[in-house]
Each structure stands twice: as C-alpha cells, then as structure tokens.
Amino acid sequence: MARSDEGSGKIGKNQGGDAVLNGERRNGQGRNGKFQSSLETGRGVPVSGAGSSGERQLSIYLDHSATTPICAEAIAAINDVFQSQWGNPSSTHRWGERSALALEMARIQVGALIGADPTEIFFTSGGTEADNWALLGVARQHQQPQHLVISSVEHSAIAKTADFLETQGWTVTRLPVDHVGRVSPQDLSAALRPNTALVSIIHGQSEVGTVQPIEALGKIAHAAGVLFHVDAVQTAGRMPIDLRTLPVDLLSLSSHKIYGPQGAGALYVRSGVAISSLLLGGGQESRLRAGTQAVATIAGFGAAAERIAQEMTIETKRLTGLRDRLFVGLATSGALQPTGDPVHRLPHHASFCLALDGWKTLNTPPSGWDLVRQLNSASIAVSSGSACNSGTLSPSPVLLSMGYRETEAIGALRFSLGRSTQMVDIDWTVKVVNQVLKRLGCETAPALVHPARLVNL
C-alpha cells in the first residue's frame, strides 16, 4: 500500500508542538487595553507521531473511538461563535439572530451527514444524553411499562438506561450476539412482543468494532410497527448513513467522535415520531429539549460533520487499509487474537484480546491494563475496552457475551485510527506492541523486525 496523506487534510503537523497563540496573545492583554483573542485555525494539534521523514516525534494517538482531536474547520467555527455569534439564539434581537443562524447552519450540516432534514435534528450535550433521551423519551410516551429490546453489546448509555427502565417496571430483552459480536435478525423477530415499544441497537460497537445489520433489523421492527433507535456515535462519518432510505426512527450522534468538540451531540427524531422531553424548562429545540444551546460546540459539531462527510469515501478506504495492516502485523505474534467482525467492521477500528496459546508458560497472562500501560510508556495511546470503564479491571461484558473466556477478555486491546494516522505510525506500533508482548513473557512474539520489512508483508 502506498503511503497516503489524504486523510491528514488541513491539520498542520505542528512538528515542534508550537503553541497556537503567538507570544503577544499568550501574554493575555494586547496593546491599548484592547483584547483580541482567537482560536487560530489549522495549527496546533500534536497528534501524529510521524513527521514526513518518519522520525519519531511526540506520540501516536490510536484512541479515536474514545475522542478525536478537533479539526481546523470546527475550531474556526467555534472561534466565530466566541467572537461574534455569542448571543442567546432564543433572543429576538440581532445578537440573538446571529447566534441562531450559526445554530441552524450546524443543524443543516449535521442533518446532511445522515440524510436527515434539519428539522429532525435536536441538539443535546452529547451521545449519552441523546441515548438517554431516545429510551426515556419513548418510555414516557407510555402510561404503563412496556417492553424494550436492545442488544447485549450496547454502549453503557443504552445498557444502563435500559437497566433503569427495568427498575421502573419495564421488561428488557437483550439480544445475544455471535462470536464476532453480531445480532441476528431472526433473534429480533423472535423477541418482539405485542407490547414492544422500542428496539434500540448500537450501529458500530465501540469495543470490538462490529457493525450491526441495522437495515435488516429496522425492517423487522417496522414490520411489527415498533420504533427503532440506533446509536450511531461510532459510525457517523465513518460509513454512509442515509436516513432517507434506512428504516430508523431515532438516531444518536456525538460531536467529539467526528473531530468536533466535546459537549455537543444530537438526537435525530424522524418527523412524526412522538417523544417526551427529558430536560424541562424553556422552549428551545422546538420545545423538545430545554436549555440554552451550546452554540460554540454545536457550531464546531456542524463544521466537523461537513468535513467528515466530504472526505468519508477516501478516508474510509485509507483507514481500512491501515487497519488491516495493523491486524496482519499483530496476528504474527500469536499472543493476540482479533475480536469483532472482520467484514462488518468500523473502518478505523482494530481490536484484540489475548490468544492464550501464546502465554502457555505464564500462570497469569497480562491484562489489557498491563499492555496499555507499557504502550503509553512508549508514547502510543490506545485503550483497553471502552473509555468509560477502562479504569476497571473486570473483563469486558461485551467480550464475555461474545463467548470469550475471562482470561482472554481481560487482555482486551483497542486501536482506533484517525485522520492523523499514517502508515509509519502503524508500522511503528506493530513493532512496539510485539516488543511489549515479548517483554511481558509471550513466547511466540516475533523477534524485533525492522519496520521496513513490514512493508512487504
């Protein structure tokens, strides 16, 4: 595979880790008591470890499923809001109108990413609020507890909200998954009941990268007249989602997974679908979600959505190539086994757990925690399980539900690639991981190889 730079877009490489602000601004007050401060665009995101020479600098960030650096377009949009669109979008005066314009622009941009009408986009504080709102908002449309169907590999924002609904008298069916983490449409058909109010299925699983057959699942839900919610936090911008054709009623999005800022997300609510409000108060978001909108982060979300939509085709292809290169490079160790679906898979996502055959000589194989700590020391940022609970050492419930043993599951490792990731980053990562595996006592890990050799794998 040829070295590709397409994905790095306009983000500056920032070799020396320059501060974004020049000296005068850094000092705070400018001249004449006037203060000009702004977020300059296009510079200052020290994410890539690789300079064009392939020399190692800074570190390699391979945790884009946890969060992504903010793209230049989003920073520019955020800056515009702080400079001149800071009014309250509900105010009817000029400052308010200007801010409302920024908000509506973002609504169009986010809608365009998923083929939705802007009037179907409702901004939230993030993916978690959108997921909570989808489930609880549908639930509160019913006087009496009903039946909810989710999968056994949902993000905690869905899984925990479903647990909560259970305490309120709801019945919850958690669909099983196969060894690669996929839900079967037949299982969904069998699970539906006359009182099923909602089916909620994650689109792209954040820990193992498996992409669910949401079109088939949605058709089954709709055939039974049941609402269908999809958590698309990991897939939006990474694979095409067109709600003009997909049988989906509600869909959750998050800004900070698509190179937008944290603190913004959205719930798509198909026109005509009734949902109760979660946050009560003022009449914002067409009276469905109270609270002054986070205009700056929402504008950044919109700009990020527009950019990622533009480059999706090229970037997805590029990342898929790099991802597969990582899979191949690490498969040689014999210490790790890939997890998740190799075909229906997030393009930027490579995940593993321990292959016990590689650790026969050890009484206790290392945990994912041991692995990531070593990798962090080598300036490679990866995750072991999903960020929200990666502090805990218990085996991932997702891997257990896929049929892995505890000792295998406890050694989970996730690499999620992004715009800044280059081939040289992958090759270096393969080299370092194999070295770490060897150090931790894996017999089968290959001896150190020169990265140049990997090119011919």
């Binding site: 974004v20 602000l21 601004r25 705070g28 007050q29 008591g33 006037k34 203060f35 000009q36 401060s37 702004s38 977020l39 510079r43 200052g44 995101v45 945790d63 969060t67 001149s84 800071w86 009014g87 309250n88 509900s90 105010s91 009817t92 005066h93 000029r94 400052w95 308010g96 504080s125 993030g126 993916g127 978690t128 909570n132 905690s156 924002a157 925990k160 909200t161 909560f164 800022p261 944290q262 603190g263 913004a264 009560l280 108060g281 003022g282 009449g283 914002q284 109270a290 609270g291 909108q293 986070a294 205009v295 700056a296 990531v372 700590r373 962090n376 995750s383 960020a387 929200c388 990666s390």
Partner: protein, 407 residues
C-alpha cells in the same frame, strides 16, 4: 437604586470587546453574555491541543484532560465555599435544575412528596415541578410581594412533614431581585428540608457561600458570567450527605451522578469565568450599577415624557438589572425601532417570542396590567458610558416618535 446626580464618574471597563461599528449595543446581559477574552484564553489550549477524553484512563492524553477537569473542579468549588467532590458538571443550569429537582424528588420518595418553590422561578425550575405534579407530587408555589421578594413566614408555614425540597432562585432573570438565601437556608436547615437555589444569574455576581447560606444544592451556569454556553454545574452537599437519582445513565462519570463524556474546554471556561467573576465582583458591580443607575435616571427624568415604573426591589437586585414598565408604549414596536442600534429584551430570552405578560411580572401584581410595555435592560461587564448615553438617546427619541405618531 441610587438617585445620584445624572453624571456620576464611571470608569471604562477594563477590557473593551472587539465590536464592529454596525453591531448593536448589547444590553441583554440576563439572556447571555459574551465570553470574556480571558476566559477564551484559558479554553484555547483545550480546543487546540489537549483534546483527550477525561475518561481515558489508559494514556497521557486522558490524564491531561482529567487533570484539567480536576483543577477546574477545585477552583469552582473553592469560590463557593464547597469542596471539589461536591461539584457535578452538567450542560448548563437547565440540566442542573432538572437534576436537582427530579433527582431529589426521586431519591427521597420515602420521605415525602412535597416540594416548595416560588411563583417567579425560571421555567427550568417550574417545569420540572409541574412534571412532578403530574406524577403525584404536591408543589407549593410561594407568592412574592410587590417587589418580588419571598415571604419567609409564608415559607415556614408551607413546610410540612412530607416536604423534601425548597427551591428558591438566588437572583431573578427578569427583575434581578436577590432573595434572602441565608434566611431561607436557615429555615430549611431548622426544619430539616433540603434547600436548592438556582444561582444561574447570581453566580460570580453576588457573594455565594454554600455553608454560610445553608445551601444544599446550587445550580450554576457559565454563559451568564462571561463564560461559554453549554456548561454548568450542580453543587451537591456531602455533609450531611444529599442524595440524588441520576437523570443521565451510562458511563458513570461524575461519580455516577451524571453520565456523559465531560467537555473539557467548556469546563475550564466555566471555572475561569466564575473565578474571574468573583475576583472582579466588587469592581464590576460598582461600575455596572453606576451605568444602570445612569440609564434609569435618563428614563425617569421628567423631560423624558414617560410614565415609567420600576419592577422589582429598588436596591436588593442585580447590579446590571433594570426592568421597567412603560405606560402607553408598545414594547414590540419600540424594540423594532431601535433594534439595529440596541439589543435588549422584553422578557426572558427563553420565552421572548411569547407575547403575554411574563409570569414574573404577573406575580408582582398591580401596575403591570396592560397597556404597559415591559422592557428588560441588562448592563454587563463590557458596557461603557457611551453605550448608556446612546441607548438613552435612541430610546427616548423612539418613544417620542411612537407617542406622537399615535396622536
């Protein structure tokens, strides 16, 4: 409100915001405020460089984000007399109010199902209360006097054995009235009822101390104190421990009370905005009140030709608040006439499209019946004497033309 001579000596604000000459003067500081450049400066590195997820415990990117959140939490807690573990970050005051009211109601089901609040509260308090009423809770809406103050004796009488929460706002968003938090807190403490205050308009602008004022829960937002929109906090007392039922379920952030990835740059901005507000409080309030009084003196002067009434308590109010009712004037026409030069509001922003008399003014009773027009001026940190003089001139000439055209 002062009756000082019409030309007090007022200093320029310490910073002047860049403003295009075509931009209208901003006198709507209760709706929102521009981000102070110092706050922006604090946030910038977290938009451009330190982008990690504070929940990522496996690498330095996450730790750097976590460190920034910890520091912000500590700073915010300190200026309200709290400790860091008593702060929950939220998306803003609306979410904080929802979490406080619904969260306490659901967590104290065993104790009782009665909540006391006030008729002049913000919709983000009133609507969660109405929601609870629809589920069988009982809610008492305390009236206020003609100046907007709550009656402590009435509050005491309203508390019953099944009262779990009293929610009274610190500063009103329309008339700026400051409630006697300390007294209310004392009553609640004596009667062993939790006290929540919506301090969205007050934080940074008036002295707040959760211990001195016996506050158990307090809602905070950044965008009314020159911070960014989309970030707020809820203070929740630990000693004695206040319980809450979380409203967002998921990754268990904020010690399980509020799931969702934290927005690091906005959290840094919130802490910077509030601490800056507290630091500048005395100086800001003095200058802003002088500007506000200057405007009031213009409007009420005899040659203005206006029949004008001040809404809310004359002195116990936010320094930048001026809320007036004008006889024989159509507020919408007046605002339209001056909108290219001055931005102000005829009520709260959250309901600014509604034409009816606001629930706050209705609660004050008498002189606010039609055909009075209601206008809310919100003077802020970056307003100058020139802003006030220009506004007064434009405003009075618009009034004159409206009055003469109606004859």
């Amino acid at each position: 409100m002062g009756t000082s001579p019409s030309k007090p000596l007022i200093a320029d604000p310490p910073l002047v915001l860049p403003r295009n000459h075509r931009d209208p003067i901003y006198l709507d500081a209760h709706a929102t405020t521009p981000v102070d450049p110092r706050v922006l400066e604090a946030m910038i590195p977290f938009f451009t460089e330190t982008f990690g997820n504070s929940g990522s415990s496996t690498h330095s990117y996450g730790w750097a984000a976590q460190g920034a959140v910890d520091q912000a939490r500590e700073a915010l807690a300190q200026v309200i007399g709290a400790s860091a573990e008593e702060i929950i970050f939220t998306s803003g005051a609306t979410e904080s109010n929802n979490l406080a009211i619904k969260g306490v109601a659901e967590a104290y089901l065993e104790k009782g199902r009665h909540i006391i609040t006030m008729a002049t509260e913000h919709a983000a308090v009133l609507n969660p209360c109405k929601y609870l009423e629809s589920l069988g809770w009982r809610v008492t809406y305390l009236p206020v006097d003609s100046q907007g103050l709550v009656d402590i004796e009435q509050l005491e009488k309203a508390i019953t054995s099944d009262t779990v929460l009293v929610s009274v706002m610190a500063a009103n968003n329309e008339i700026g009235v400051l409630q006697p938090l300390e007294k209310i807190g004392q009553v609640c403490r004596d009667r062993q009822v939790l006290f929540h205050t919506d301090a969205a308009q007050a934080v940074g602008k008036v002295p707040l101390n959760v211990d001195a004022q016996n506050i158990d829960l307090m809602s905070i937002t950044a965008h009314k104190i020159y911070g960014p929109k989309g970030i707020g906090a809820l203070y929740v007392r630990r000693r004695p421990r206040v319980n809450l039922a979380p409203q967002f379920h998921g990754g268990g952030q904020e010690r399980g009370w509020r799931s969702g990835t934290l927005c690091v740059p906005l959290i840094v901005g919130l802490a910077e905005a509030v601490t800056l507000g507290v630091r500048l409080q005395a100086e800001d309030n003095q200058r802003i009140a002088a500007l506000r009084d200057r405007l009031w003196n213009y409007l009420k002067s005899e040659n203005s030709g206006l029949t004008i009434h001040l809404n809310g308590h004359p002195t116990q109010r936010l320094a930048g608040n001026l809320n007036v009712s004008l006889a024989g004037i159509k507020a919408a026409d007046l605002l339209r006439q001056i909108r290219s030069q001055v931005a102000l509001s005829s009520g709260s922003a959250c309901s600014s499209t509604a034409q009816k008399l606001s629930h706050v003014l209705a609660a004050l009773g008498e002189p606010n019946r039609q055909p009075f027009a209601n206008l809310r001026f919100g003077v802020g940190r970056f307003n100058t004497v020139d802003d006030i003089d220009t506004t007064a001139r434009l405003f009075l000439s618009a009034v004159t033309s409206q009055v003469s055209s109606s004859h």
